[in-house]
Symmetry: C2
Subunit: 346 residues, 2 copies
DNA sequence: CTGTTAGCGCCTTCAT
DNA sequence: ATGAAGGCGCTAACAG
């Protein structure tokens, strides 16, 4: 056997080189040697040759034939947000253990881009789709596609649909945080919310309201501001909250970026945390402990969210049937107590 | 024409429904109507039907036939690092404007995973590969694959190869930062480095050394510590730097995560920045201004790095030839002056 | 134990 | 101005 490296581009070249049929080679390479009782010798030869020529089957062709691309679509609103990048990382790493590659798209908080991205995923024949929807705009589309392939929502979900989701228990997290404020003697508690059309935002706001109600505190609309999860919202809202006669003693910020904005405003205004105002923020980050004031946060279990998402989508895929088993997992959160909340009772 | 929605799964179904040949449908859908002088009427009918049935061509089949998957591979060491997540975002957004989807893989700072990821990209027939290599372990493999498809390195590059790269001008950035320390009267300047096998780290260290040399300051090995870009390295190095008789007056941290580690150590030790020690950190982040001490940073132009990478790879792809035109772009950085450097001259 | 062959969905050459 | 047919690389009946 000449060891001269011919151009081995596909399985046929390899088969010819080995003087075997493509079938045999295919079988060996797909671990079906046993089923067809292919001789050890042949088996070894094939494997060695494949390794020698560094042959890798064309996944496009394989996908076309098998009707399975071994690919998962991932659509998230903003990877540069550390919350989502963490989720993305966990999903990718987990997905690979199941043999999937990730086709990734950043919807940039834009429903139109999201729509395109979903369409693309479909035409690329992903086996499943993991999506953190921007809002509710593409609900119909997502429901439609979920009839063809398994879909799972992460973080942000859409109620009133069959769509499965995995998210944090936002209601309880928010409820607990607000209660914590109240226990520390706060009565004027503001909440800076994110995207109002997102359900996780809604749940957080509900938790906040419920906590107020449970403690016979009136909910006042002037203390609920904000419109997106971004930094600018936090800044604008904080400025607003302090410019007028509102002046809350506590702020619940519904995302890490929002609290960064609050920090910017607070710095500009010369306001002191927790002296003048207390702060609790959603999303623990590696840097939160080292902020100008170490802020008390609500930590979400990003790694578990990612893992569960992949696990569920994988099991839907192998079961081949888009089951309507209800999967709506709300993963518990954890408060990390630091120095941004003042105890008014002392 | 019945508007009953038959199952339109592929181009043949669509053609049959329209009572046209697949050829014609294909041509219209690929914008080649003009070339074949297909009548306006036919054209319109086809487009409408495609939209109506929400038909999307199977990209797997298309890719197989065309030998172009319209897909770019992206392999980076850690998306949860905000520096890389920012790059990833810019790359994805830019790639989409050229019509590429991104197949993304996180090598998790592990050369083995990186190797697998690159192999997978190859078998998925990506049209081009953008990679921030972990170290130099997979140089051979990357060079090999670069003969088959365009490859471009971002951030971390590999010298002594033909591999194209786009990175920050790390040498100058580091040189300038060190000079700044010196100008402020510092003489005992430590440098906490990242992955020593990465060229960008090397360049940064070289810039640091050169600045010392240019100012007749001896480089002393005891002030060069660290071994990875992670947070723990920053912490360990800082502890080490302060525990002994070293006690530098200034620290140059070669990544944002390293400086977070420094901050952790400094907090634990009750050391004051910039009172006891000054700090300059690579990588500007949204939070850096709000850290316990707003830190002076070296900002890299992440959006430009991403854009250029995609631009170059796209042009290599359409030119169809893997040209050996040297592309080694070093993008300028910008220092953002804040309060973490003490002026010893005052 | 191994091989032959059809066909996945698409584009394109050649024919009309 | 439109069609028919071959083939991209792979897997899986079906056939020995």
């Amino acid at each position: 056997m000449r060891s001269k490296k011919k151009e081995i581009q596909n399985i046929r070249d390899l088969a010819e080189h080995l003087e075997l049929s493509v079938t045999t080679v295919s079988r060996v390479l797909n671990g079906k040697a046993k089923n067809y009782r292919i001789s050890k010798k042949t088996c070894e030869k094939v494997k060695q040759a494949a390794a020698h020529f560094n042959y890798q089957p064309n996944k496009l062709a394989r996908g076309l034939k098998m009707d399975r691309s071994e690919t998962l679509g991932l659509v998230i609103p903003d990877v540069s947000n550390p919350f989502f990048s963490s989720i993305a990382k966990n999903i990718e790493v987990q997905a690979r253990t199941y043999g999937y590659s990730i086709i990734f798209s950043d919807s940039d908080e834009d429903p139109l881009k999201e729509k395109d991205a979903i369409g693309l995923m479909h035409s690329r024949k992903v086996d499943g789709l993991i999506i953190a929807p921007v809002g509710k705009e593409n609900t119909r589309l997502i429901e439609e596609i979920s009839k063809a392939i398994p879909v799972i929502l992460v973080d942000r979900y859409i109620p009133g649909t069959h769509l499965k989701y995995i998210t944090s228990n936002n209601f309880i997290a928010s409820y607990d945080a607000t209660c914590f404020f109240i226990r520390k003697g706060h009565k004027k508690i503001a909440c800076i919310q994110g995207l109002t059309s997102s359900q996780s935002n809604f749940d957080r706001v509900e938790g906040y309201k419920k906590a107020l109600a449970d403690h016979k505190l009136n909910f006042n609309n002037k203390w609920l501001t904000g419109s997106s999860f971004g930094e600018q919202t936090g800044y604008d809202s904080a400025i607003d909250l302090f410019s007028e006669d509102k002046k809350p003693t506590a702020i619940l910020a519904l995302s890490n970026q929002i609290s960064l904005g609050v920090l910017r405003a607070v710095k500009e205004l010369g306001i002191n945390i927790p002296g003048d105002v207390s702060l609790i923020s959603f999303d623990e980050q590696p840097y939160t402990a080292f902020l100008s004031v170490p802020v008390t946060t609500i930590e979400q279990d990003k790694s578990r969210i990612g893992q569960e998402a992949v696990r569920h989508i994988h099991s839907s895929i192998i079961r081949k049937n888009i089951d309507y088993e209800k999967v709506n997992i709300q993963i518990g959160t954890r408060m990390i107590y630091r120095d941004s909340v003042k105890d008014l009772c002392k």
